[in-house]
């Protein structure tokens, strides 16, 4: 079974091996717990040297995708053990045609719970440059909204850039890295969401409101606005809040913000 990786030469062979095997693992060719082919078998099937095969396997092992034992072989790890906070892993998942629905749900749940908080932090800490990034992203979204959304991903891309800009606006290393790492995963969710929506103006308006709250340094309003954006996305994704349990948590917080009396919550 000659897969002949060597067609593409702009990437190290080991990375291409890792990517190919990663897709096979995602496709279910090898189930968790199964033994993968030995290094020599992979050498034959891919038509590369053992050094390159080992390079690819090491890349997968360092991310918890596989585990290797001297004298025993290589086994596929359970998906729970995958280091899903690694850029390569998230890229792999985003590229895959049919990502595990559980994972899409997990990612959206995380965003639903975290992004309001992130927006509140950004409202406190964002600097002028961060606002510029957000504004540019929104302007680009508006410019693309006239065209057919399903045709190209430019609208989705700028949508994602906007959300990433908010994470960066927290000026915290961990939140910033989270945005960078989850970027492919966020793209996945946002693309799906934008594919099913029929009205982009609403999306655009909510994003603008969120940016305005951050600009006004109003954490409570930013929390609320981000929650509204996420609710809209949830509707487009056809995810009923409460199905999973997690998404409804931030709701009382938003309600409390409206009721409470610290910040000027609208």
């Amino acid at each position: 079974m000659k897969q002949s990786i060597s067609a593409n030469k702009d990437q190290p062979l080991g990375d291409q091996i890792a990517e190919a095997l990663g897709h096979e693992l995602l496709s279910g060719t090898y189930r968790p717990g199964d033994a993968l082919p030995t290094e020599m078998e992979l050498v034959e099937s891919f038509g590369v040297s053992r050094a390159s095969v080992r390079s690819g396997l090491q890349a997968l092992a360092s991310r918890g995708i596989i585990e290797r034992f001297v004298g025993q072989g290589t086994i596929a790890q359970d998906f729970r053990d995958w280091n899903i906070l690694d850029p390569m892993v998230t890229g792999l998942l985003a590229d895959h045609a049919s990502p595990h629905p559980d994972l899409v749900r997990s990612i959206f749940e995380f965003r639903y719970s975290a992004e309001p908080l992130v927006a509140a932090l950004a409202a406190r800490n964002a600097r002028a440059r961060d606002l510029v990034a957000m504004e540019d992203a929104i302007d680009d979204m508006a410019r693309c909204s006239s065209r057919d959304v399903a045709a190209d991903d430019s609208f989705t891309e700028h949508d994602v850039s906007f959300h990433v800009a908010i994470y960066r606006g927290t000026h915290n290393a961990i939140w910033r890295h989270l945005a960078h790492i989850l970027r492919p995963a966020i793209t996945l969710v946002v693309r799906r969401s934008n594919e099913t929506t029929e009205e982009l103006r609403e999306t655009l308006a909510r994003h603008r409101a969120l940016m305005e709250a951050i600009r006004m340094r109003d954490p409570a309003a930013a929390y609320d606005a981000a929650l509204a954006v996420m609710r809209l996305t949830a509707g487009e994704l056809d995810i009923a809040p409460g199905t999973t349990g997690a998404p409804e948590i931030p709701d009382p917080m938003g309600a409390l913000f409206r009721a409470g009396g610290t910040g000027a919550a609208r």
Copy 2:
């Protein structure tokens, strides 16, 4: 300069090379942007084969710690580019004697902002098994509190286990992985905190209150209790909330929870 890695044999050579070079990078032996020794020079200095050296370098490159160019060599990346959400990187940072204070601050800021939310999510989603893990961790903490804390890390270890159990209680893949990945980093913060505190009973009591709120499925109370724990830790770490800007964000939320009327907040 024979560093003679081969003393420890219970770990692959490549990983030992990576760890040694990682510590050198953290120590400032090579500054970001500098060129690292060539593979052949490392072969001589470590006394291992080029294959092992390459294995170690690849492990570092895959985590954004170094970047390699054909025909040019290897350069040290800026710390901002490090994939700090990788277990090996966080382990490296935790092992290092004097981790960058900026990073410790970032990690604590992140926890300060996120853990109240995580606690609220756990209050919604935690199952009986998660409560068992929390209770066991607290019992172990209580058992260790009689001994000298500075002497051994058992108290700290169980403290960290408690926090990790809360993350797991969210039943969300991303939060769960975050806890796993940040475990060494959390240990770093908790150990420092526990070293400087003189009264462990207070720490224990607040942890118990947090667990009780989660047990009672009261997100608002859990949010509040977690905030109290984090404030205590901040005090022990001698971090004035507001110094960095980020930590003060959750405070108004806590205030709103106390003022608001959804859950039985304490």
